[in-house]
Symmetry: C2
Subunit: 323 residues, 2 copies
């Protein structure tokens, strides 16, 4: 029987990759999106697929549908977008998660939720294992995202514990690739757009803060592996580890400084005349973050495959088509 899947936020960067892959896998795919940061362009090639449906709807409003799996990806994820309307951001995280879990409870759908390394905030432990509780400001300008995502995890844990909803979470670390929003203000899209536009590349702070960059295909592979596991396997694996909910980090632990990323971007764009310039670090910007991916390796036999130089080349090729 064909699997029916709903992807909230499916017209966004990650959602559009997931939709495309689930169609390749033979699923019937419904993409729900309010098109606030997602865009029809990301899924344009899917619209005439008979197994694909687009549903214009905001995840904060209740919805109904019979699906085997619900992938909850709806939430603006870049500071530029989520700080434009902080109240809507935290509502999207919380109410969206609540609506997804309520529907899953009533229809017995399996739930995948995209959590984030941002729930670790400005971590005091490196690399971050899933058992680390994080270091997050409740009342700062990033809190609408961080605390919204933290509360969404809590909802997942409680619906799983109290009502037996089969929910699986990945804390996603920095991910990049084609279909990223060119104006989302995140470092890879910023650098490529600046270099392509012959504008100087801005390093916040001194550029020595590190990030791990995961190519989108690696993440999508992990999501599919995780959602394909039998519930008993998931329960058994996490019961031993006392984490409270099936949650794994997925990211690429290779660390690069922001300055190294800028230099690699310029190396791949030899025609660019951009130079590196410095600007002050924004409030609450995490200094360093790197995933501990032991659990993903053990549970899924997963490890990232695409090196930065290759992923960056594919991403630059995409940005050339839209710049």
């Amino acid at each position: 029987m064909t699997q029916k899947s709903l992807i909230t936020g499916g017209a966004g960067f990650l959602g559009s990759h997931l939709a495309r892959q689930l169609l390749v896998d033979g699923h019937e795919v419904t993409v729900m999106d309010n098109l606030f940061t997602g865009t029809k362009a990301n899924i344009y090639d899917l619209l005439d697929n008979p197994r694909f449906t687009f549903m214009l709807h905001d995840v904060t409003q209740p919805f109904w549908g019979q699906f085997d799996a619900i992938y909850n990806l709806a939430c603006p994820a870049s500071p530029i977008h989520y700080q434009r309307n902080p109240v809507e951001t935290i509502k999207t995280s919380f109410l969206g998660m609540m609506n997804v879990l309520e529907l899953a409870l009533k229809t017995k759908a399996r739930v995948f939720h995209t959590s984030t390394s941002e729930i670790y905030g400005d971590p005091e432990v490196h690399p971050q294992p899933e058992g680390y509780w994080g270091n997050v400001n409740t009342v700062g300008t990033r809190s609408c995202y961080d605390e919204g995502k933290r509360a969404a995890e809590t909802l997942c844990a409680d619906y799983a514990r109290e009502y037996g909803v089969d929910v699986r979470l990945i804390r996603i670390f920095n991910t990049y690739g084609p279909n990223m929003h060119p104006q989302d203000g995140r470092v890879i899209s910023n650098f490529i757009m600046q270099a392509l536009g012959q504008r100087d590349i801005t390093l916040y702070g001194d550029g020595s803060q590190t990030r791990s960059f995961q190519y989108v295909d690696d993440l999508i592979r992990a999501i599919r592996l995780f959602m394909g596991l039998a519930p008993e396997r998931v329960r058994g694996f996490f019961a031993e580890r006392k984490l409270g909910v099936p949650v794994i980090n997925v990211g690429n632990p290779d660390e690069y400084t922001i300055r190294q990323l800028a230099e690699e971007t310029l190396r791949q764009l030899p025609e660019s005349k951009s130079r590196l310039v410095l600007a002050p670090l924004p409030q609450d910007d995490p200094r360093r973050r790197k995933p501990d991916i032991t659990l993903a390796r053990e549970l899924l036999g997963w490890a990232p495959k695409v090196p930065l130089s290759e992923g960056l080349a594919r991403t630059i090729a995409y940005f050339r088509t839209i710049a």
Copy 2:
């Protein structure tokens, strides 16, 4: 002009004290409560006051009313109650706060919100100043309360920053007194009920974890002082301190071990035959918590006045009437 005040959760322990005091101050007081943990008995003597109204309503459902001030106290606050239905607990925190802030935005009401020392989780800094970000598990059995309360703070900060809602928060540390729920499982009510019932007094862990205990009258005084300040004074004070929202700790920094509390309870109940017994510490139970009340002193000229021995005597007198 008489001030109109709404107290959500006003039939609970703290709410009933606040309602009584605001009536003394000359306010018109509406108490909203779903009576899940609150009880009519707590406000029975107020029901025939012409300036008092009781409204049976759940704060998670939208409501309307023209008030000068809204005091948001609705949320089960003891682990025994809030863990009975974790999903409802986090919904109460988040949706209740959202409904209060939406109403305040539309009606220009001033908002007081009861946050909690639980947002600090199991703190790694002692005592805790308001700038400390806390150490909280997102997916544990206490998370429904802790993360719900953290997200409520974030909502307050964002409604204040984005929409100019005049919101003031107190992070309340352990508070006790008459009208506490006798079965709420918190340490003071537990010990008194056990001693009055001639049952052994249970110390979790070895009883060496410390707590600060604040008598309810001290807290109510701080709430009234805080809500009485002019908005310019509040803005000025917190703008200097870069906290993101007007928030102060209110609690009694005198530390007692749980064992000392048990011994003082038994000293005041010489007729009790109860003995001290040990039991394992529950998951995520904070080992130690003590407020830094510098901001409350500076902003309100406030300090706690009622010593533990006196507050305990008044509380024991109350429990004798209901035991």
